[in-house]
Structure formats: structure tokens, C-alpha cells
Amino acid sequence: MIHVKNLRKEFTVHRKPPGIIASMKALFIRDTITKVAVQEVSFHVAEGEILGLIGANGAGKTTIVKMLSGIIHPTSGSVDVMGYNPWQRQKNFCRQIALIMGQKAQLWWDLPAADCFLLLREIYQVDPKKHQEMLEFLLSILDVRDEINIQIRRLSLGERMKMELIAALLHKPKVVYLDEPTIGLDLAAQRAIRNFILGYRDSVKPAMILTSHYMEDIERLCKRVVILLNGKFVFDGALQDVVQQFSAHKIISVKLHKPVDLTRLNPEIELIEDHGDELKFRVMAEDVAHVSQHLLAKIPGANLAVGEMNTADVIEELFQEKA
């Protein structure tokens, strides 16, 4: 459904030192720099798949989503979405996509959601009967039927986000871009939105791209991820493979039968969790054998288990290393 090849986006930005003299100078001489937001990124997304696009702030995730939805033009590279070139913005293409941005509202602030949905029905030329059926379906699974006639600005953030999701999906798009859809929401609302996205994926089978800073979103919704670092593509594959590819560390868990004096342990071994009856150490993969020996020697009778690092921690570590 979505094929991206060597996509690149550069922005020219104006750089100005502080102060009035610099401002006056900038009136005549502009110091501009070219910022590369996305560098030769390639991937594809199949029908019914949710691809997680992950990266730190400024990694280029939103820029990619905006290029794939036709909002901004790439500097180079090619994109094919359902056979369309997005930035030609053909009506048939626009009718089959949806974009949800957690940080930007599409609904009219002063109007109730019901009015906005009617306008969207007209914009997307959805048959009134089908529109009503889809609306009933979305309202019931998101549990916001009672809020549909309340002005958007009077709704809570969670309710507003649910209305945004309904607005974006009423025309049953075949391609859905979700840019941080759970940002700022409480845990219950995040869970509800995740369940909804999974339910929608199962019933409509669209190709979806999800960007999120919440690893739980990615872990719950995406089997495959693309990782970006400073606009560069670094990984495309199954989420569980991220750990093997990027983590040089292992986790040693030690179950304790009785309290232990931690000062007896080698201080160079990194203790990352202390639950009283269980300790967790992070060690380099090549050091696992001799650290295990050391721990067994210093904590007689302890149960040791060696495991992989948590995916979220690996990704966070990766972003920190490259920052």
C-alpha cells in the first residue's frame, strides 16, 4: 500500500544571533543553513499492517508523515501510496487517507462534534446511511455518544482525541497516519485509544503508520518498526529484533533468599533495580560469564537468570547514545 524510496527532505532555515544589531544586519544579509530533516529513508507498509515510526524529537518522523500525506513536498525520493503520488493531492487519494495529529486539532473549536462530522460527510461525499452506520460504530466503541453535541472546546483532552479519531476515520480510509495520537492522555484514555486502533485495524484492514514517544503504544500496536536517528534510517524490522541488533547488554536477575550486603559486590557492576528480594544488573554481553561467577561467589545460594534488555530501554539507550 505504501512504498517509500530514498525519501529526503531539506529545509532552509534562517539563523540569527541575538541582539538588535544582528537583527538589523539580518534585514540585508541572511545567514541561512540547510537542515536535513530526512535522509534517504526507504520502507513499505502492507495492507492491515501498523508500522511504528520511532525516533527522538527532531528525528524526522512527523516530516515523513507529512510527506506521505501530501502536505509537504520532498526534496528528492519517491513515494507511492495506493498507486498515487501524495503531493499531487488528487481527490481520489485524499478520499482514501486520514491523518491524525495528537498535537493539532482538525475539529472546529466552537462547534459540537456532530456538526463537524456532518461537514466531513459532505467533504468526503459519504453516503448518509453509511456515514450514520460508521458514526454509530465509532461512537459506541469509543464510548463518547453522550458528548457528540457538546462544543469541542468544552470536552476533556481524552474526549477530544476520541472525536478527532472519529472525524479522521468516518470515511473509512485505506491509509491512516497516526502522529502521536495518545500524547498528553491519561493511562485509561491511552489504553482506550490503543484498543480502538487495534479494533479498527482488524475490521477495516488499512495500512497504518504510527509515530509515538510512548513505547507502550509501539509495543502494543506495532509488530514492525522503522527507527530514525537524526533523520537517518537505522533499522527496519520486527520489534523484538531491535534488542538483538542494538543492545550490547544483558540483564542478570538475582533472586535472594536473605538480604545481602551490596558493598561486598564489585562496584563496577551496574545495579539497575533493587526490589529487596530480587536484584537486576546490566552487564556487557561478553562479561556475563565472569559477572555471574562473581555474583554466585558473593551471594551464596542465589538464583541467577540471564535475560535480554527491555525493548523500550534499548531504544532509549540508542537515542541517548546518538543524541
Partner: protein
């Protein structure tokens, strides 16, 4: 076309329900525009206190021309102005994003989504003033002349939007707060003067590249000079040319749209 009419009906409905919530703004705009009309009529009243003709037009003719311009201006204020004023902010803050992914013309959507219901009363006032000016005119006009005059005024409102839009679009590159709208409002004053007073290069410019004189002055000439096909053809061709230019300019601008980081 039917679809766009339906969409516009939704915009009207939403805009009216919003406008009623802000009563002070609603009444302020009526007062503001009424003062604007009065100032212009007084201005010409003062001039005609010293002379009987300006550019070959007497006061009765200028009054019809001015009231025609008020009608065009009120139409612009009601239908387009709010949208064009908001556009620079949309571009600079990246709010254009959702408008660009809809299966409707982004130019139509962004130019018409906000109907200024609080200017609607001014539209009625301006229309009433025009009827009054025509009725008090000492000569007579044929029904066809009146119809062509009104048709050309509608074309004038369309030209007004086209020119205004051309002055807003540079905001895609300049990222300034208003685009070149201040320049537009300075130049717009040419549309508030009878076209016979302009000569030479300035006249050619104001009837072609920046066709401010075609907004209200050319339509008024249909009433005073009779049905003039040159005026009709000229107005039609300029509107067509400017439409083609605007579509090209808009697409060029959208290519430069950089949105804003989230």
C-alpha cells in the same frame, strides 16, 4: 458545483452560530463599516463642494459608483476577508495541514470557511445605499443596464478577492505576520476613486496587472455610458487572466509550504 454549494451552506450555518456568541464584535463591525461608508461620502461631498465635475463625473454619478464599491467591499468583508486575514497565521503555524489533505479545493476551503456573519448587516446597508443612490439619480437606466452593472459588481468582488489573495500568498515565503496585505490596503484606495481621473501608464496598470479600477468604476460606466462591450470583454479577460495566475501562484506556494514542527 452543487457539492461546493452544499459545503458553503455548512460554512454559513457554522459561521452564523459562532457569530451570535460574540455580540460585542457583532455590533462593533456594523458601526465600523458604517463610519467607513460615511467618511467616503463626506470626502466626495467636500470635493464636490468646490467643483461640479471630477474626471467627467458629477456627484450623483460618483455616489452610485461609491455605493457600488461599498457593496463590493461589504461582500468581500462578509465572504472572504476573515479567511484571508487568518491565512498568514495558518501558514506560519502549520494549521494548513488538515486543509491540504481534504478532497476539496484547498483554495476554496481556505477562502470561504469563515463567513463573517457580523458583516452581513453591512451587506444589507450597502445594498440599500446603492438602491437609494440609483433611485435619486436624475437620469434613467434600463433594466438590462442595471443587470449588467450588478453582474460586473459581482465580477468586481471576485477580482477584489483575486487581488487580495495575490497579496497574501507571499507569506508562504516571507513568513511575515500579514504577507503584503498592508500594501494591498494602500493600493486598494485606487478602487475607491473614479477611473476617468487616471491616465497613461498608471491607468494601464490599474486596469490590467492590478485591476483595481475594474472593481467598481468600470461597472458604474455601464450605467453612465450605456452597454459597452469593450468594458465587458476587458473585465472578463482580466478576470480570467488573474484567475489563471492565482491558481499557478497558489500551487507554487503550496510547493513551498513547510508546515511547522509539532
Amino acid at each position: 458545483m452543487g457539492r461546493y454549494s452544499k459545503l458553503y451552506l455548512y460554512f454559513l450555518r457554522f459561521s452564523f452560530s459562532r457569530a451570535m456568541e460574540f455580540r460585542l464584535d457583532f455590533f462593533f463591525r456594523i458601526v465600523m463599516d458604517t463610519v467607513y461608508y460615511a467618511v467616503h461620502i463626506i470626502f466626495f461631498g467636500v470635493i464636490y463642494g468646490h467643483t461640479s465635475m471630477v474626471g467627467g463625473w458629477n456627484f450623483d454619478q460618483v455616489l452610485i459608483f461609491m455605493c457600488g464599491f461599498f457593496l463590493v467591499d461589504a461582500l468581500h468583508m462578509t465572504v472572504h476577508a476573515n479567511n484571508l486575514w487568518a491565512l498568514p497565521e495558518y501558514v506560519n503555524k502549520g494549521h494548513l495541514d488538515y486543509y491540504l489533505i481534504r478532497p476539496v479545493s484547498s483554495l476554496f476551503f481556505l477562502s470561504h470557511r469563515d463567513f463573517a456573519a457580523n458583516s452581513f448587516v453591512n451587506l444589507i446597508i450597502a445594498a440599500s445605499m446603492l438602491i437609494w443612490a440609483i433611485l435619486r439619480y436624475p437620469g434613467e437606466f434600463s433594466p438590462l443596464q442595471i443587470m449588467v452593472f450588478l453582474g460586473l459588481l459581482l465580477n468586481g468582488a471576485y477580482l477584489y478577492w483575486l487581488i487580495h489573495m495575490c497579496f497574501v500568498i507571499p507569506v508562504f515565503w516571507t513568513h511575515s505576520a500579514h504577507g503584503f496585505q498592508m500594501l494591498f490596503y494602500s493600493l486598494k484606495q485606487f478602487a475607491e476613486r473614479p477611473d476617468p481621473i487616471f491616465q497613461g501608464l498608471m491607468r494601464r496598470t490599474l486596469t490590467t496587472i492590478l485591476p483595481f479600477l475594474l472593481i467598481a468604476s468600470y461597472p458604474a460606466r455601464i450605467l453612465f455610458e450605456g452597454l459597452n462591450t469593450t468594458i465587458l470583454i476587458h473585465s472578463g479577460l482580466v478576470s480570467l487572466g488573474l484567475t489563471i495566475f492565482l491558481l499557478w501562484f497558489w500551487n507554487k506556494a503550496l510547493r513551498s509550504y513547510s508546515s511547522a514542527s509539532s
